[in-house]
């Protein structure tokens, strides 16, 4: 437990909490302030909107420990607020609530909007209120209510919030003295160096290979994508690599072959992935088959997330096509489906970018291997994108990216 001290609705308090407890749970569970509602619990719906040092914020993605020293204001503390009194009346008059679940967040966000921006047009109000979702009124009444109050108070002196001059997330250092001036001209340059010659740490691969990635297609539970690239190597050499799992696997950053392939093509493997804040490892097994006549291989596999309940099933077929004596095209049809927590987070544009990035890394490594060099040990090989099973790899990305 961690001790925190803060002010909630004008009352100074100290409490013990765990670092992972978010502010909405803290307020509801330990302070009994159940007016702060929890809807999506990942920063999308706005039901948990509160004020932190006068700025509206999402309580569900702000941890209580990070609010040490702040002044919190929840819906319970707006009873006597003149603007909120008007808003409550307008919400009643305009039928701006039905079940009431979104209402505390709506009211706090609306009050903030009026205070900051004065009178707005209806489209502007809709845009500005888009961070608060309502599932029953259809918004029309909410917008009318806000618009009505904006007109009512148009002639009154506005009181724009401007906190204590701190430019970061509230509260900043507890001591006012530590707050730097907002606009410091040419002061103490060495702390903020002027741009020098760029010390780029880009790790260039031995040779860039252009990878074409088709559109992401959703077919039932399966995500499908095709990918192709050309390596300047004779097909015999490329085919030798593509049919040898022990050669293919090191081309996939983060992938390790744990066993096999046996005579029947079965194997086991794992894939360590690090992308942004996401670090995970998929482990699983699969089957490798080859069709020498068609110069085609297929990898089917399934894997489980070692740190959670997610899992992925993948199926990749790839072909080598001779373009000339020294040039070979590799084409892959990739399909995968994800289940578990990771499947809830996906955005097609991001999946496309990730698959392309992984494909480029794989292609570079394959090219290097075909030319007799070791796979590049670029940072990509840690970050990773891939598994020996593109399935594993793409599945992994998918989870990371799914639209919320």
């Amino acid at each position: 437990m961690t001790a925190i001290t803060l002010t909630v609705n004008g009352r100074a308090l100290s409490a013990d909490t765990t670092p992972r407890t978010h502010m909405a749970d803290f307020l509801r569970e330990s302070q009994g302030l159940t007016g702060t509602h929890i809807g999506c619990e990942h920063g999308v719906c706005g039901a948990c909107t509160i004020e932190i040092n006068g700025e509206i914020s999402r309580a569900c993605i702000t941890y209580a420990v990070a609010c040490e020293g702040t002044e919190i204001r929840t819906i319970e503390a707006f009873d006597d607020d003149a603007l909120m009194i008007r808003l409550r009346a307008a919400f009643t008059a305009e039928h701006a609530l039905q079940c009431g679940y979104c209402t505390p967040g709506m009211l706090i966000a609306a009050r903030d909007l009026i205070r900051r921006r004065g009178t707005l047009t209806v489209p502007e109000i809709r845009t500005e209120m888009s961070g608060n979702l309502c599932r029953c009124t259809g918004y029309a009444g909410i917008i009318r209510a806000i618009s009505r109050v904006m007109v009512e108070v148009a002639d009154e002196t506005s009181s724009p919030i401007r906190g204590n001059g701190w430019l970061g997330p509230a509260p900043g250092p507890t001591s006012r003295a530590a707050i730097p001036p907002a606009h410091r001209q040419d002061a103490d340059r060495k702390r903020m160096p002027a741009a020098s010659s760029a010390a780029s740490h880009t790790l260039l691969p031995s040779r860039e290979i252009k990878v074409l990635t088709g559109p992401i297609r959703i077919d039932g539970a399966t995500t499908k994508v095709t990918q192709s690239f050309v390596v300047e190597q004779p097909i015999a050499r490329v085919w030798l690599l593509l049919t040898n799992l022990e050669a293919v696997v090191p081309c996939m950053p983060g992938a390790v072959l744990d066993g096999g392939p046996g005579a029947d093509g079965t194997f086991s493997a794992h894939l360590a992935l690090r992308l942004g804040p996401i670090r995970t490892t998929f482990a699983g097994d699969g089957k490798f088959t080859r069709d020498d006549a068609a110069r085609s291989c297929r990898i089917e596999g399934r894997g489980r997330d070692r740190s959670g309940p997610s899992s992925v099933i993948g199926d990749v077929t790839y072909r080598a096509i001779e373009l000339s004596e020294t040039s070979t095209r590799v084409e892959a049809d990739i399909g995968y489906s994800l289940s578990g927590p990771l499947a809830q987070f996906g955005r097609p544009g991001l999946v496309h970018g990730l698959v392309t990035h992984v494909g480029e890394t794989f292609a570079r490594n394959l090219d290097a291997a075909a030319a007799g060099r070791a796979p590049t040990s670029s940072k990509d090989n840690e970050l990773g994108a891939v598994s020996l099973l593109w399935s594993l790899l793409t599945g992994w990305f998918h989870r990371l990216t799914t639209r919320t």
């Binding site: 765990t18 670092p19 992972r20 978010h22 619990e41 920063g43 509206i56 914020s57 999402r58 993605i61 702000t62 941890y63 990070a66 966000a109 888009s130 961070g131 401007r162 430019l167 970061g168 997330p169 250092p173 707050i179 730097p180 606009h183 410091r184 001209q185 040419d186 002061a187 702390r191 903020m192 160096p193 002027a194 741009a195 020098s196 760029a198 010390a199 740490h201 880009t202 790790l203 990635t213 088709g214 559109p215 992308l275 942004g276 670090r279 959670g308 927590p341 809830q344 987070f345 955005r347 544009g349 991001l350 496309h352 970018g353 990730l354 990035h357 940072k379 990371l400 639209r403 919320t404």
Partner: protein, 276 residues
């Protein structure tokens, strides 16, 4: 929807932060937490230690000189939206800040956090790449300044070392007549962008710079085109056909929808700065 348990440290200086990062390979920096918070709650990210950098005064500094504006990494989108910091020209920072997610997110989300996360759909990444901005990094090996175009290596991938911290962003100022057009397509207001178009037209300095953002990976920069003609609809239309062909040769080229949305956002951005 509750995060896995983690420890929490709140250093008071950049040096202390770097030391903590060096000693804890599994530590994760948190500033406003508006991207990391959802990923923690969904258990997509499970770091063992969070390092809260929001109490470090050096990370909210502003240096405003004649040729560049330097913003500390922990400055919030809301502070930029409200004009509480100077702009780099054409009021572009405030304009773009206002379109980031929602006010309740902008009040805690930070410019440095957005760049360190390097989500392809993020507004700052595209805009600041077009403005030739550089990130300022501090690590155990010292300090370095890296142009954004070299900092970002792929979707959510950067060249930030494990013990390095983004401390600020240096944004060259526009010339007196410099203009910036900005357009994005989102399914819903505040949602992740599906396409971003940025057009920086600065006749006194570097001419025309275009960025196609939310393109899956690092922003796509096009900076070798002459300005599109005005007042001649045929010639202007041909110019945009060329631009579309140019995009077709990038990673966007295999998907007609991507090609169309990115061409449209670039056209809208260009129309703002070089009217038809």
């Amino acid at each position: 929807m509750k995060p896995v348990a983690f420890d929490y440290i709140r250093p008071s200086s950049i040096a202390e932060t770097i030391k903590i990062l060096g000693e804890n390979p599994d530590a994760k920096i948190i500033a406003g937490g508006q991207t990391l918070g959802p990923m923690l709650n969904l258990r997509l990210a499970q770091p063992t230690i969070l390092v809260d950098i929001t109490r470090i005064p050096d990370l909210v500094r502003v240096d405003d000189s004649d040729d560049a504006l330097t913003l500390g990494a922990c400055i919030t989108h809301a502070a930029i939206e409200d004009g509480r910091v100077p702009d780099a020209g054409d009021n572009v920072l405030a304009r773009v800040a206002r379109g980031i997610a929602y006010r309740a997110v902008r009040s805690r989300g930070t410019i440095g956090g957005s760049l360190a996360h390097a989500d392809p759909a993020a507004d700052w990444l595209s805009l600041l790449t077009a403005l030739r901005a550089s990130v300022l990094l501090h690590g155990r090996g010292g300090e370095r300044t890296v142009p954004l175009a070299a900092f970002v290596s792929g979707p959510m991938m950067t060249n930030l070392a494990a013990d390095e911290l983004v401390v600020g962003i240096r944004i060259p100022k526009l010339g007196r007549n410099g203009r910036v057009g900005y357009s994005k397509i989102c399914r819903k207001v505040g949602d992740f962008a599906e396409a971003i178009g940025v057009a920086v037209y600065d006749p006194e300095r570097k001419g025309l710079r275009l960025v196609a953002g939310a393109a899956g990976g690092a922003p796509i920069l096009i900076d070798d085109l002459a300005a599109p003609p005005s007042g001649q609809s045929g010639a202007r239309s041909a110019w945009f056909d060329d631009l579309r062909s140019r995009l077709q040769s990038t990673s966007l080229g295999t998907d007609v929808y991507e090609l169309n949305t990115h061409t449209a956002t670039l056209r809208r951005a260009l129309d703002e700065v070089i009217p038809a």
